[in-house]
């Protein structure tokens, strides 16, 4: 009786109190920032044109309302944290010169900020739809090789038809729509890896093959990993997309380590990375160029190092408390002080105007995302979900770490977006889907995972063959 009452109750709408409270905090902070920006630009206390702000807050409220009405039982901190990052993104896009990106929709000509707002809307919609509609993960886990094939096909499409932007071939144009498939590729990769590693965990952790002093997993299970390493190298060589390659490879190594729980795997992944990095440095000038800029950007301050040098100046100008929104230098008189300030260098622009204090808040938000995501992973009901949640978290957080470290000249700069903050439809859409996945995996109402299959694939095939043979015999008799 009580059980029935509970299940009936679990389907109904449920007010997500904590999420509402935190979203209130987001609304307050972003409104405050909006007033600060508008006042600085106008030179007098002003609200500016609050249309975009209200639209943004409306979108956040709508996402919250949908999750509440659908009775979602998932994490209530993820959405507000991503929401604040999106809000900071919107503030920065409003502040930057609008001519940076212009797209025509018939008679309507939209600049940077409205476009970014549209993408934020798309991202929030994707997150909510995935969070509410994904009730069973069966189709994700059963078709893992299909996802892998789709990912490789996507990669090949980019290899063949991709357009070059800033020396990296990563934009795919279909009619009027241009996108960066590597952003969607990372989701496919995580789904495939989660399925593959969850299925073959025991086999991968076992050490059957001996290669000199090394003890390796059985060869057939080693191949996909070498393939992964090869794909990462291929992305660097053919696509010249260092950021995506680094992200994919890092997520792969960490997930492998999570699955096998062997520190040796992590060490071997790092070793392979070092080998690959040295080889690439020796043979490919674009990799060498990146490293040289990183080591001494001031040697080519007016040439290749211009972007990094300007980024460092921006960080320095910001100081501890920042110059204030709208008072920084990125694009005062119409032209940009840092190239690609709205995508790769958005962190530097925010750090200039919000200072060290604001930059630390941004980093802390990513740390919170990591904590919530890994918490969902640790509470997951089976290996596949745990690995999927961990992978989805890693893909966002590692990407943020790579680009922030690159912006601050901690590691060589690799062009990649800052999740939820950088301008760009593909990036926002992909990260929205990742957010939705995390929300859905954290939902206690997700259908129970299928029972683990104790017998190996070969035995299962044999059983199936035996059953078919038996049926045939019965038909004959």
């Amino acid at each position: 009786m009580t059980g029935l009452a509970e299940t009936a109750d679990r389907r109904g709408p449920r007010f997500r109190r904590r999420e509402a409270l935190l979203l209130g905090g987001v609304a307050g902070a972003i409104t405050c920032g909006w007033v600060s920006l508008a006042s600085t630009v106008a030179g007098q206390p002003s609200m500016g044109d609050p249309l975009l702000l209200l639209a943004f807050l409306g979108m956040l409220g709508a996402a919250h309302a949908v999750l509440s009405l659908a009775g979602s039982r998932s994490d209530e901190v993820l959405l507000p944290v991503a929401g604040l990052l999106m809000g900071l993104s919107l503030l920065m896009m409003v502040r930057l010169p609008q001519g940076l990106v212009v797209q025509d929709f018939g008679p309507l000509e939209l600049g940077l900020a409205p476009l970014q707002l549209i993408w934020i809307g798309v991202s929030l919609t994707a997150a909510t739809v995935v969070a509410v509609a994904l009730r069973s993960d069966l189709w994700l886990r059963s078709y893992k090789y299909t996802w892998a094939a789709a990912g490789i096909a996507l990669l090949l499409l980019v290899f063949a038809f991709g357009e070059e932007t800033n020396g990296a071939r990563l934009t795919l144009r279909v009619g009027p729509v241009a996108g960066q498939p590597s952003e969607l590729l990372k989701i496919l990769l995580v789904v495939f890896l989660a399925g593959y590693l969850a299925d073959n965990r025991a086999l991968l952790a076992g050490r059957a093959t001996r290669l000199g002093p090394l003890r390796l997993p059985p060869l057939p299970y080693l191949l996909p990993m070498l393939a992964m390493w090869g794909i990462a190298l291929a992305i660097v060589v053919v696509q010249r997309d260092l950021g995506a390659a680094l992200l994919f490879y890092a997520v792969f190594v960490v997930l492998l380590w999570v699955a096998t729980q062997r520190l040796g795997d992590l060490a071997m992944g790092v070793l392979l990375f070092v080998v690959g990095a040295v080889v690439l440095y020796a043979f490919f000038p674009h990799v060498r160029g990146r490293v040289e800029i990183w080591l001494d950007p001031f040697a080519t301050a007016q040439g290749a190092g211009f972007q990094i040098v300007r980024g460092l100046y921006a960080l320095g100008r910001g100081g501890v408390l920042g110059t204030g929104l709208g008072a920084g230098l990125p694009g005062v008189d119409g032209h940009l002080s840092i190239p690609a300030v709205h995508t790769d260098f958005v962190f530097d622009a925010l750090a200039e105007e919000l200072g060290l204090a604001g930059a630390l808040v941004i980093l802390a938000l990513y740390v919170v995302l990591a904590q919530r995501g890994l918490r969902i992973a640790s509470a997951a009901r089976d290996d596949f979900r745990a690995l999927l949640a961990a992978g989805a978290t890693l893909v966002v957080v590692v990407q943020a770490a790579i680009i922030v470290a690159g912006d601050a000249r901690l590691i060589p700069l690799t062009g990649i977006t800052l999740p939820f903050v950088s301008y760009g439809g593909s990036s926002l859409l992909a990260n929205g889907i990742v957010l939705g996945l995390l929300l859905s995996l954290g939902d206690t109402r997700l259908a129970a995972p299928p029972p683990p299959q104790a017998i190996g694939r070969r035995e299962r095939l044999r059983d199936a063959a035996g059953a078919v043979a038996g049926r045939a015999e019965r038909v004959i008799s």
């Binding site: 307050g28 006042s39 901190v77």
Partner: protein, 150 residues
């Protein structure tokens, strides 16, 4: 310093303060989750509240925290000691299996009763059902939910 500069400066700092305010709210939420999780470890599965006890041992209104397996009876090594003249030494056992509670009689002299019905074979029971052992009646209560788990 002109009033405009001062007000801009104040708004700017207010924005930073608001960002930190949000961070504080988030961290408070994380901290509460952590506390709730820690408390969940030693949270009992349920509670037995003594509703009626003519002899006064156990006293009326006292509460027993329940584990997965709980024995009831007069012996001192039972989980729930029911020191009643009509109770047997090893009287009944109350277990939590899967997602439900079961009550089983251990061959007691005077029988175990569930909501006034004699327990012959193991019986399923839900929250706020009443168990009678001897003349002592006990009610199965929910474990207290820690505040603000969600």
């Amino acid at each position: 310093m002109d009033p405009l500069g001062v007000s801009l400066w104040i708004i700017r700092l207010a924005f930073l303060a608001a960002l930190y305010g949000f961070l504080y709210l988030v961290l408070r939420a994380l901290w509460r989750d952590l506390r709730a999780n820690l408390r969940g470890v030693d949270r009992p599965l349920g509670r037995l509240r003594v509703v009626a006890s003519p002899d006064g041992t156990p006293p009326e209104g006292s509460v027993f925290a329940l584990d997965a397996i709980n024995t009831l009876g007069r012996d001192v090594n039972n989980t729930v000691v029911v020191d009643d003249g009509f109770a047997s030494g090893r009287h009944a056992v109350l277990t939590f299996r899967g997602r439900a509670w079961y009550l089983e009689d251990l061959g007691s002299t005077n029988g175990t009763w569930l909501n006034g019905e004699r327990v012959v074979s193991p019986m399923l029971l839900g929250w706020s059902d009443e168990v009678q052992v001897g003349r002592v009646r006990l009610r199965l209560d929910r474990p207290d939910l820690p505040p603000a788990t969600q």
